[in-house]
Assembly symmetry: C2
Homo-oligomer: 370 residues x 2
């Protein structure tokens, strides 16, 4: 859906007469992205007492100013090209921008999305290159005895590639996400399409499972570890066999990678480091890194550093300088250093958000299967 899709609702109401009346009365355009990268946010709220923009990437909370027509507005920026999320606080209630149809779904609350386009199409844009396909499968989890979904990206040319086998990246989402988020918000398929077209990345299959075998909301204290255990169990017993029966993939650990963000970064470390027989490549993006001493899932991997170093083709850890998990990643990496575990560690600009994770996917995948 284009950013411009929010324009001209009233005009559209004429030309698509099937369309019910737009909900807001007179048409208010928000957000409006200017050609110089400034962004104007608006809200029609003649009865509202206060309207505040919440956009951590723009410095936090910024009040909108009420106009005589009852439309609140504020212009910020210029902002560097990216896809960014924001919310409003309307008389104290935090919610989305009701004029903007682009919404990021998140289990902890939706947010509105604004895209500042790059001058030329960038690494996450739809470009005129061959596109892979996305597939959604249901399966019954033996770990949780529930029907579950998994998203699978196949690279351009997969269907016509005969007997060719592909390497696989298992790509895990965060605690507020689900199995669709890496595709819909993270744009993993488009990022892979563009990197493959540029020859920077080995054509690979990307598997995006759901990270909540314990239902989100049925959590109780201690469930985080239990959830990770069940997740790894389901991955090994159900997801990998499903992929290996349905797709032409290498079954060699040197052709299998696992990476994830936030909660999924913790899961990728737990699975990658405890099941080295399965994964040679491990990526942790802004991860909820496990406690390297206490956590049962990972505490064994430093016992024999030479073995770990021999088996691990890549242990890639990155976190934003403004991420609330920065310290936790530093502690984890310190432990790696103490035990002489070979790894890559990056502290990058950014906080705990999708612009960072899209960039990490772009930077991590070229290192795989080489």
């Amino acid at each position: 859906m284009s950013l411009k899709s929010s324009l001209c609702l009233l005009a559209a109401a004429f030309v698509f007469p099937a369309w019910p009346q737009p909900p807001q009365g007179p048409r208010t355009v928000s957000p409006e992205v200017h050609s110089d990268g400034r962004i104007t946010f608006r809200l029609r709220g003649p009865e509202a007492q206060s309207v505040v923009l919440n956009a951590p990437w723009a410095g936090g909370e910024i009040p909108l100013v009420k106009g005589e027509d009852g439309v609140w507005s504020i212009t910020i920026g210029p902002v560097e090209p990216d896809i960014l999320d924001y919310t409003y606080r309307i008389d104290g209630v935090r919610t989305i921008d009701p004029h903007n149809p682009r919404v990021k779904l998140w289990l902890g609350g939706a947010a509105s999305l604004v895209e500042v386009p790059a001058e030329a199409p960038t690494y996450y844009d739809v470009q005129d290159v061959p596109h892979g396909d996305l597939h959604v499968h249901w399966f019954r989890s033996s770990a949780s005895n529930r029907p579950r979904r998994v998203f699978v990206y196949t690279p351009p040319g997969y269907a016509a590639s005969g007997e060719r086998l592909y390497p696989v990246l298992y790509l895990l989402h965060g605690a507020g996400d689900d199995e669709s988020t890496w595709s819909e918000v993270g744009r993993a398929p488009l990022i892979l399409d563009n990197l493959i077209a540029a020859g920077k990345v080995e054509p690979m299959i990307v598997v995006m499972p759901n990270g909540h075998p314990v239902r989100f909301g049925e959590a109780s204290r201690g469930t985080g570890n239990r959830n990770t255990e069940l997740f790894v169990d389901e991955l090994v017993k159900d997801v990998i066999p499903l992929i290996e029966s349905r797709y032409r993939v290498h079954k060699d650990r040197r052709k299998r990678a696992i990476a994830g963000l936030s909660m999924g970064g913790g899961q990728s470390l737990a699975a990658g480091l405890s099941r080295a027989e399965l994964f040679a490549y491990v990526g942790a993006f802004s991860s909820a890194a496990p406690d390297p001493v206490e956590d049962a899932a990972v505490k064994g991997f430093t016992a024999d550093p030479r073995k770990t170093n021999r088996e691990t083709a890549l242990l890639w850890i990155a976190v934003g300088e403004k991420d609330f998990l920065l310290k936790r990643n530093q502690v984890f990496v310190e432990h790696l250093k103490e035990h002489g575990i070979r790894h890559t560690y990056l502290e990058t600009p950014g906080d705990h958000s999708w612009p960072v994770w899209r960039r990490y996917l772009r930077d991590f995948t070229p290192l795989l299967f080489r």
Copy 2:
């Protein structure tokens, strides 16, 4: 995502320590569906002056009442089992329920979703039956010279069915939707899974293209017809050839159906009635029925009623008694009657909303390819 997924955010913040703070401070649960089908809606808004629930299925606008703790609430119902959408009006601003992570995306504005579960799993629920797969393909439209997406459902057993050919239903969305809406909101894949498992529906491939070759928002007066023309053009030149090259499908018009809702219903009538060489089955759900006299796309189909009746295996038209398009459908059907065109016409309970369209899909698909 379960309805219960909105529970226990604070608990989750403990067990998923990667998770940023929930946005609303103290946890407010909304909506809460009671076992008797009543629903309590809540909103934490100590500073708000008025909070109104907008739920046409519950009678329209219903004020919430402010409690001493600053939480507004109202209990309604009992409500019949269904998946229903609603919005809030907070100090005059219409928006989603910020406590509810289930959101229906719509180009004209998002809405919150509430699900009243049936006692036993119903026709749109995930049941313990074989599941089909969903596939997402990009292609370049020759009609609009843009990259476009199409969603494709393949029925259970498709991958393992050797040389078997399948019939195809082209299933079109409404003006505020996109190519994902029939899957994500309409639950078409689950409805088909359940009907196929029950032996009520012929296993078929369901193709869900995007109905906006003219970008939503780039519309101007008269673009509705132009959009339909381009849509049919793209369907014929790009989508059908893509499907027939990538999937094992019958290329026989008697094994091809087209149906859609609202704007997509108008498109299905335009494509189905003007291109009878392609489609033997046509369905129009709450459709923006074309003007049967003036509209170029359909005015020819009454010229030779005997030919039309011979070629059309099914012309199925249904609309809700409270739908704002009721009259428009009545006019169209009157024209069919005048010209002796065989058809099925149903006026059903309901308005212009997804509960109606899910039921229409359930009732229409058993009639296909028999």
